[in-house]
């Protein structure tokens, strides 16, 4: 049993047949950093919001199970997620806009502690300053009294990390944590995350479109496109031996050697079958069905009929 186990997550727009995520699944173990990689529009942010219970108005969870340490988070009657900040939290892409502009940084962290750990305000305040130090902020006291607009982007991200880890959650979701920051700051944030993971054994779901970041940080990877899991495996498996036409296309794009046989088109959310079908050079009749994840290695799976279907395994 994994620390975080997501199975068959299906998310769509209310009152519309379109599905934004279809049967998405992945796992995270303690002390592990699992990457969720995909282009913009692949549904990776949506997946994270879904399991956190933060789906925006108009988007609904249609099916799926999310278990944290064995406990099912999805309420079977309502489809709502029941989760606390002591179990799983999230940090976001634009740190400054994610923080409340009219509340001081220290207070925002203290609030998390007061709400979830029932701390008194004095204790929470001290603990907040302590957290700021632990995320590598010098002069933590001064920063605690500052407002978000007075802090740099990297500093804001550290504040958000402090907020997220204040209650020592078992799982942390990091949605493009460094995409809006400078490259030098990016390295610092990565180091910080690694440090914290080693120290606390927290499991991290690391979401990004940056393959380099994945290569640097992650132990295992899930590749997402059009709301469908394309491939999943260890970092080495997916990066050195990709088995899905989409994954290969993704790596080619980084090298700027895109296969001209792949059609350049947007995602088509109405497709019932494989979500890469309308672009894939290998598409064939079977692709009209939604492909299951076929095993292609030890713990390595790919959702492509090239590796299964009527002919069995590859």
């Amino acid at each position: 049993m994994s620390l975080l186990e997501v199975r068959d997550l299906t998310v769509g727009v209310e009152r519309s047949p379109h599905t934004l995520l279809r049967e998405v699944g992945f796992t995270v173990e303690p002390g592990e950093i699992v990457g969720l990689v995909g282009e913009s529009g692949s549904g990776k942010t949506m997946a994270s919001l879904a399991i956190m219970g933060l789906l925006p108005r108009g988007i609904e969870l249609r099916a799926g199970s999310v278990t944290l340490d064995g406990r099912e988070l999805v309420d079977p009657a309502t489809g709502e997620i029941h989760r606390t900040a002591n179990e799983m939290t999230m940090i976001f892409q634009h740190p400054r806009s994610a923080l409340n502009p009219t509340m001081r940084a220290g207070r925002q962290i203290a609030r998390v502690l007061e709400l979830n750990q029932q701390m008194e305000s004095r204790e929470a305040r001290d603990e907040a300053v302590g957290m700021l130090s632990r995320v590598g902020i010098p002069g933590a006291g001064r920063v605690a009294r500052a407002y978000p607009h007075q802090l740099s982007g990297g500093m804001c991200q550290r504040v958000m990390i402090a907020m997220a880890l204040a209650c020592k959650p078992k799982v942390l979701i990091a949605d493009e944590p460094t995409t809006a920051l400078d490259v030098t700051i990016q390295a610092q944030i990565f180091d910080l995350i690694n440090e914290l993971v080693d120290e606390t054994g927290t499991g991290v779901l690391f979401i990004t479109h940056d393959l380099g970041a994945i290569a640097e940080m992650c132990d295992r990877v899930t590749v997402l496109y059009g709301g469908q899991v394309m491939e999943r495996g260890t970092l080495r498996q997916v990066f050195t031996d990709p088995r899905h036409p989409y994954t290969t296309y993704l790596f080619d794009a980084v090298e700027r050697e895109v296969d001209p046989r792949v059609e350049e088109k947007g995602v088509n959310f109405a497709l019932q079958g494989c979500r890469f079908g309308h672009r894939c050079p290998y598409v064939h009749e079977a692709c009209a069905e939604f492909p299951p994840l076929y095993p292609v290695g030890d713990g390595h799976v790919a959702s492509c009929f090239l590796h299964g279907g009527t002919d069995g395994t590859s």
């Binding site: 009152r15 519309s16 047949p17 379109h18 031996d241 990709p242 088995r243 036409p245 290969t248 790596f251 080619d252 090298e255 050697e257 001209p260 046989r261 792949v262 059609e263 109405a270 497709l271 019932q272 079958g273 079908g277 309308h278 050079p281 290998y282 598409v283 064939h284 009749e285 692709c287 009209a288 069905e289 292609v296 090239l306 590796h307 002919d311 590859s314």
Partner: protein
């Protein structure tokens, strides 16, 4: 780089693009929920348009069918609403309904005219200010700031008071009060538009700056202005009627809704509510119709 793993021979070679295996893919899900009928998507727009339509019909054709509003019938004064007099009669025995219908022609026309002129003049100035920038822009901005520092009603009031009471003067005064809205709106659009590529294209094609500004940029900057114009037409009617109520601009015996309310106001205290409340109600309904249209077209301006 090659695709990983052996390709099962049954599936053949990869296609070239263009040889798309369209037929291999499931058809799109039928019954896409994209085309709801207009009256479901924008109900207010439809309601507003219907009401406005009725008003226009009344304004254009009404006076041909109702009696002469100036006919007095002293014996019949202060009759409440009845089948003979839909809106009752006033203190001179005039039929309130007939008068209100004649007033509709005046008010609706004025409202639309004011909105139209304000939009045309305001947009023209806005384009010049936004496109050419510089000190012209500065001056225009300062002027609009000062004009907008006044509540529009007070400004129109002072203007009419200064240039005299007459229908054309009222139209001029209220138009002037609303021009700044359009200047600001168009200018904002123009500032965004002029960075777009088609402007460079037009310039390279040899068009002089005035041509580029008016022939190319202006048409694309007018979207929000049309929406605003709908709202302004409604406000214009309210303003003109409000001024008339105060005895400014349009005065008795001209048949105008505000004038009618002013004449009927004293009657309220003695219980003859129909002389003031019916014409007033027509003002509000007309303003609401324009408001519905403007709101559902996308404005959400104060």
């Amino acid at each position: 780089m090659s695709y990983g793993g052996p390709v099962p021979p049954d599936y053949g070679d990869p296609h070239a693009p263009g040889e798309r295996a369209e037929e291999y893919l499931a058809p799109e899900i039928a019954g896409e929920a994209s085309a709801l009928p207009l009256w479901r998507r924008k109900p207010l727009l439809v309601v507003g348009a219907v009401i406005l339509g009725i008003y226009i019909v009344v304004a254009v054709l009404g006076p041909l069918f109702v009696g002469d509003p100036r006919v007095t019938d002293p014996a019949n004064f202060y009759q409440g609403p009845s089948w003979d007099n839909l809106f009752g009669t006033d203190k001179f025995g005039r039929d309130v309904f007939a008068r209100a219908v004649h007033a509709a022609r005046l008010d609706i026309t004025i409202g639309i005219l004011i909105a139209f002129f304000a939009m045309v003049i305001g947009s023209a100035i806005g384009v010049v200010s936004g496109y050419f920038g510089g000190w012209v822009d500065e001056i225009v901005m300062r002027l609009t700031d000062v004009v907008l520092a006044f509540p529009g009603f007070v400004l129109a009031l002072v203007l009419v008071a200064a240039i005299g009471n007459s229908i054309p003067n009222v139209v001029i005064a209220v138009t002037v009060a609303y021009i700044p809205y359009f200047i600001r709106l168009t200018r904002a659009q123009v500032l965004a538009e002029r960075e777009l590529e088609y402007v460079d294209g037009a310039k390279l094609a040899g068009n002089g700056p005035w041509r580029v500004a008016f022939r190319h940029v202006l048409p694309n900057s007018l979207g929000p202005s049309f929406v605003q114009a709908a709202l302004v037409a409604g406000w214009a009617i309210l303003t003109v009627a409000g001024l008339a109520f105060l005895g400014v601009g349009i005065r008795p015996p001209t048949a105008e809704w505000g004038v009618m309310v002013a004449e009927g106001a004293p009657d309220i205290i003695t219980g003859q509510w129909w002389t003031a409340l019916f014409p007033g109600g027509m003002i509000v309904a007309a303003a609401m119709a324009f408001q519905f249209i403007g709101d559902d077209l996308g404005a959400d301006v104060l």
